[in-house]
């Protein structure tokens, strides 16, 4: 059991479903309340793709637009999502399931999988 790898989220149930705007606004307005509600939870987020970002080690992130042009919902994707994302382009709507880790500049989620 100790050696069990971190599981993917493809089959995980989302605790909450909301838009990228709603998620960012909640954290921006009341970070401690948002932390209490969403931190470590699996969330389904819907939003418009602002950009795709490929990190230095080849990791894919999907950046979802919010009402604030400077800040986003920034979702680090699971490694097995590198093919699926090519079906999308900037400006498209997308639904992603991921684990919420809090707000830094952006609201950051990790282990993301695209919900079809």
């Amino acid at each position: 059991m100790y050696m069990k790898p971190v599981e993917g989220l493809a089959d995980a149930d989302a605790a909450y479903s909301l838009t990228s705007d709603e998620l960012y606004d909640y954290f921006d307005t009341n970070e401690s309340e948002a932390n209490a509600k969403y931190l470590g939870k699996i969330i389904e987020v819907r939003g418009e793709i602002r950009e795709f970002s490929i990190g230095d080690s080849g990791d894919l992130s999907v950046i979802l637009a919010t009402g604030n042009p400077m800040f986003s919902v920034n979702i680090g994707m699971n490694k097995n999502q590198t093919i699926d994302y090519k079906n999308y382009k900037t400006g498209d709507s997308i639904k992603v399931k991921a684990e919420c880790t809090g707000i830094s500049m952006d609201v950051v989620l990790t282990r993301g999988v695209i919900v079809k």
Binding site: K4, L39, S57, G76, I103, M105, V108
Partner: protein, 186 residues
């Protein structure tokens, strides 16, 4: 009077542009820590570190979301968050400091510059003064920064139960990699 207002507006605009051009940021910085104990090696990687750097003053800040550390094994991640850093209670680690030898870095000239950074790190609700050596690399105008240092975990009131002391090191090594972008309002 209108001329005076116009002049003030121009001065404010020029000042804000000049200030913005000294500020760099990243939202995709990487921090990795490694605990090497006799019985086990544990690695956690966070690829969503936020950092702001002002090259005019050498001021540098980090914000590290603790739940964004990823581990190979599920129980390592669970123990890290629940038992050690208590990430529900202390969701962020932060650093606020400055490059001590900022004047040695020629920010507009490609090159590799050794730097020393000092400041206050807050982790697990405890704030400590820390210093670390690092390297600034400037290549084609792009700024990147690396650093490696050690942290003694009990300095941050993180308690390791004696039953797992052979599995978790008292001091963990930390590596930081950052690729900065010029801060511009899009």
């Amino acid at each position: 009077m209108k001329k005076l207002i116009y002049l003030c507006a121009v001065i404010l605009f020029v000042t804000s542009v000049a200030q913005a051009q000294t500020q760099y940021y990243t939202k995709e910085g990487k921090v990795k820590f490694v605990s090497k104990a006799p019985m086990e090696q544990i690695e956690g990687v966070n690829k969503k570190v936020t950092s702001i750097l002002d090259i005019a003053t050498g001021q540098i800040e980090f914000s590290v979301l603790m739940k964004a550390f990823e581990f190979e094994k599920a129980l390592m991640q669970e123990h890290f968050n629940e038992n050690y850093v208590e990430s529900d209670k202390f969701p962020k680690a932060t650093f606020k400091g400055s490059i001590q030898n900022n004047s040695d870095v020629k920010w507009t000239v490609d090159g590799t510059y050794p730097v020393k950074v000092s400041g206050k790190m807050t982790l697990h609700g405890v704030t400590k003064e820390i210093s670390a050596s690092g390297t600034i690399e400037i290549k084609n105008g792009k700024i990147s920064a690396t650093s490696a240092f050690s942290l003694v975990i009990k300095d941050f009131d993180i308690v390791i139960p004696s039953v797992v002391k052979d599995k978790i090191a008292e001091s963990v090594s930390v590596e930081v990699n950052l690729n900065y972008e010029l801060f511009t309002s899009k």
